[in-house]
C-alpha cells in the first residue's frame, strides 16, 4: 500500500548536532535517514511506527525509516531533515533562480521492511557508482 504526500525538508536540532558530530557516524543516519509522517498518514499507509519505507519521486528513490512527526499534526505533509537522504528525491530544478526546489516535492511512500537505511557515505558512494536499487 503506497500513499502520496507532499515532501518538505529542512533543519532539525538533531540534524544539526549529528552533522557537527560527524556525518560518517551512525547518529547522523538516525537523525536524518528518516521521514516524519503524520499519524493520519501512518494510518493510511497501514504501517507501524519505525518501519523502513521507500520514498519515491520523479527524481529518485531512497529508503528511510518512517517515524511519527514530532512537530505535527500536518496530514499530507511529510518531512525528511536536510541531508543526502532528502536530496535523493527532492526536485533539483532551479527554474532559472539557482535554487533547487527543496520544499514541496510530491512523493510516494511505501513500506520496505527488509530494505536497509544506508549511511550517508554509503548512500552517496553507491548512488554515484550506480549501485543503488
Amino acid at each position: 500500500m503506497a500513499i502520496r504526500v507532499n515532501l518538505i525538508s529542512g533543519r532539525t536540532i538533531q540534524q544539526g548536532v549529528a552533522m557537527e558530530a560527524g556525518k560518517e557516524k551512525p547518529a547522523y543516519t538516525t537523525a536524518c535517514g528518516i521521514i516524519e509522517l503524520d499519524p493520519a498518514d501512518f494510518k493510511k499507509l497501514g504501517a507501524f511506527r519505525n518501519t523502513n519505507v521507500r520514498v519515491t519521486s520523479s527524481y529518485g528513490s531512497v529508503v528511510v525509516k518512517a517515524v511519527e512527526a514530532t512537530q505535527g499534526p500536518h496530514p499530507g505533509v511529510a518531512y525528511i531533515p536536510m541531508g543526502p537522504w532528502a536530496n535523493m528525491v527532492v526536485n533539483p530544478n532551479t527554474y532559472s533562480t539557482g535554487m533547487p526546489t527543496f520544499k514541496g516535492t510530491p512523493v510516494e511512500v511505501e513500506t520496505a521492511k527488509n530494505e536497509p537505511v544506508l549511511s550517508s557515505l554509503e548512500l552517496v558512494r553507491k548512488g554515484c557508482r550506480g549501485e543503488l536499487a
Binding site: N6, I8, G10, R11, T12, I13, Q15, G16, V17, M19, E20, A21, G22, K23, E24, Y59, G60, A69, Q71, G72, P73, H74, V77, Y79, M82, G83, P84, N87, M88, V90, N91, P92, T94, Y95, S96, T97, G98, M99, P100, T101, F102, K103, G104, S120, L121, L123, V124, R125, G127, C128
Partner: protein, 437 residues
C-alpha cells in the same frame, strides 16, 4: 589545570553568539567544556577534539581506498587542477573567515573560475529579491532593544538558530523592551506546527508553497480591503488579526527562512515579503531580515560584494565578473555540464545538493578542503583537512545582520595542520607560477 576563555564567538550559525565560555587545558591543546552555546554549537567545538579526526591530506586511489599524501602534494594537485581547467567551479566559502575568502577570490580571478557560496541553496533567492526591490533592514541589536512584533516566516529558529530567540528576538529585555517576551507578540507562518510555532501568539498554518498568496493577502488586510474566506488554507479572520497585530506594534520585524526561499515562487515570494514590510512602514516602523545559516555566508557575500560587485554566483571565466543566477549558479552549472573541475571549501555539497548534482562532482576532478569526513569528501578525488575556523584559528565573520565580528582561537590545531588561509595562499602562489604571472 584548566583555564576559561570568555567571550568566544560560536562558528555555527548566522546568529554568531559572542558570549560563549570555553574551558581549555593550560597548554591550550585540549578543549574540555563549552558553556552558553546551543547543542549544535557545543558539538562543533567538542568535535574538534575527536580522536578519529583526519589530520593529513589524502588522495582517492583507483580501487576507491584513500592514500595519505603531504600538504605539498595536495597543493600541487589543487593548483594544477585549477590552472588546467577551462572553467572550474569554486564552491563553498561559508564556513571560513573573510581573510581566506579574499585569497580564494584571487585564485578564482587567476584561473577564471566560477565563485559560488552556499547562498546558492539557501538565501540566494533573497539576494535576487534584494537586488530587485531593496531591503528595509536593521541590526539584531535594534531588534532586541525595540522590536515588539516578531514574525517568523518559513523558518524554525528553535531548531536552526537555537539561541536566536533568547538573545535577540523574543525573550531578551532591551532598552525599550523591558518586559521581555511578555511585551512582544510573536507570529509564525509555517505549514507545520513547529516547536517555534507552538510558542507563537498567532500561528498561521499555511498550505505549503502558498506564501505568495498569503503575503499578498496581508497587504490587502493592512488596507482593510475585502479578502476571500480562505487564503492559502488560512481563514480570513486570522489574516485580519495578524495584520492588525503587526500594525499595532511600535517596531515590527520579519525574519524569513528556507520555507520562503526554497518553495516555488522563490525570489518572487521574497519580493512580496519585502513589499509587506514596506507597506507596514505606512503604519509603524518595520524591518525584514533573512535568517542566514552558515556563520559566515553573509561574510562571503560581503567580500565578493566589495571585490566583484556581486554577492554569489560570480563567473570570472571571461576575465571580468559576470552574475546571472540560473546560469552562473552551482547547481545549474553542474546540471548542464558546464564546469570541468570542482573545488569545495567550507561547505558540504555532497550532503546538501540534490543528488543529480553530487553525481556530476563525482565524475569531475575535484578537491575538498574540510576538517570533517563528509559525503563531499566521499565523492572528491582529494580531501584536505584543515584547522577549524573559530575554534583553532580566528578571523573575521559577518553575522546575519551584516555586522562583522572577529572570531577567536581557543585551542591549537593538531600539529602540522594548515589553516584555510595558509593552504589557499600556497595554492595561489603555485597557480601564479604555473600561469607565469
Amino acid at each position: 589545570m584548566t583555564r576559561t576563555v570568555t567571550d568566544v564567538i560560536c562558528p555555527f550559525c548566522g546568529t554568531l553568539c559572542d558570549d560563549l565560555e570555553v574551558v581549555v587545558s593550560d597548554d591550550g591543546k585540549e578543549l574540555h567544556e563549552v558553556y552558553n552555546a546551543c547543542a549544535i554549537g557545543a558539538e562543533k567545538f567538542l568535535h574538534s577534539q575527536a580522536k578519529d579526526r583526519i589530520t593529513r591530506p589524502r588522495m582517492r586511489q583507483e580501487d576507491g581506498s584513500w592514500k595519505e599524501i603531504s600538504y605539498d602534494e595536495a597543493i600541487e594537485y589543487t593548483a594544477t587542477m585549477l590552472a588546467e581547467a577551462k572553467k572550474p567551479l569554486m564552491y563553498g566559502w561559508s564556513s571560513t573567515n573573510c581573510e581566506a575568502q579574499a585569497v580564494g577570490s584571487e585564485i578564482g580571478e587567476a584561473v577564471g573560475a566560477v565563485m559560488d557560496n552556499t547562498a546558492t541553496v539557501c538565501h540566494g533567492t533573497s539576494l535576487i529579491a534584494v537586488q530587485d526591490i531593496g531591503i528595509p533592514s536593521c541590526t539584531l541589536g535594534e531588534v532586541k532593544n525595540r522590536a515588539d512584533r516578531i514574525l517568523f516566516w518559513g523558518c524554525n529558529p528553535a531548531h536552526a538558530h537555537p539561541r536566536h530567540m533568547s538573545r535577540y528576538s523574543i525573550f531578551p529585555r532591551g532598552f525599550f523592551t523591558g518586559k521581555g517576551h511578555t511585551g512582544r507578540k510573536m507570529i509564525v507562518v509555517d505549514p507545520r506546527p513547529t516547536d517555534t510555532a507552538s510558542m507563537a501568539d498567532i500561528h498561521l498554518q499555511i498550505e505549503q508553497g502558498r506564501d505568495y498568496e498569503l503575503l499578498n493577502a496581508l497587504r490587502v488586510a493592512f488596507k482593510g480591503e475585502k479578502l476571500p474566506d480562505v487564503v492559502a488554507g488560512i481563514p480570513k479572520e486570522k489574516i485580519y488579526e495578524a495584520a492588525e497585530t503587526l500594525k499595532s506594534g511600535r517596531f515590527a520585524i520579519i525574519f524569513f527562512g528556507m520555507g520562503v526561499t526554497q518553495s516555488l515562487g522563490k525570489n518572487h515570494n521574497i519580493d512580496e515579503a519585502i513589499a509587506v514590510t514596506r507597506d507596514l512602514n505606512e503604519y509603524t516602523k518595520a524591518a525584514i531580515m533573512p535568517m542566514r545559516g552558515h556563520y559566515n555566508v553573509t561574510g562571503s557575500g560581503q567580500v565578493w560584494g566589495w571585490q566583484f560587485g556581486f554577492p554569489y554566483a560570480v563567473d570570472l571565466s571571461r576575465g571580468f565578473a559576470r552574475y546571472n543566477p540560473g546560469e552562473t549558479t552551482s547547481n545549474d552549472l553542474l546540471r548542464r555540464d558546464e564546469v570541468d573541475a570542482v573545488f569545495v571549501l567550507g561547505s558540504d555539497p555532497g550532503a546538501h545538493f540534490p543528488f543529480s548534482s553530487v553525481k556530476k562532482i563525482y565524475n569531475l576532478p575535484s578537491v575538498v578542503i574540510d576538517p570533517h569526513e563528509t559525503p563531499t569528501s566521499e565523492v572528491c578525488k582529494v580531501h584536505v583537512p584543515v584547522a577549524f575556523v573559530g575554534v583553532e584559528v580566528g578571523g573575521c565573520a559577518y553575522r546575519m545582520d551584516n555586522v562583522p565580528i572577529e572570531t577567536r582561537k581557543v585551542v591549537d590545531a593538531p600539529e602540522g595542520m594548515m589553516t584555510d588561509e595558509e593552504f589557499l595562499k600556497r595554492v595561489l602562489g603555485r597557480v601564479k607560477e604555473i600561469k607565469g604571472v
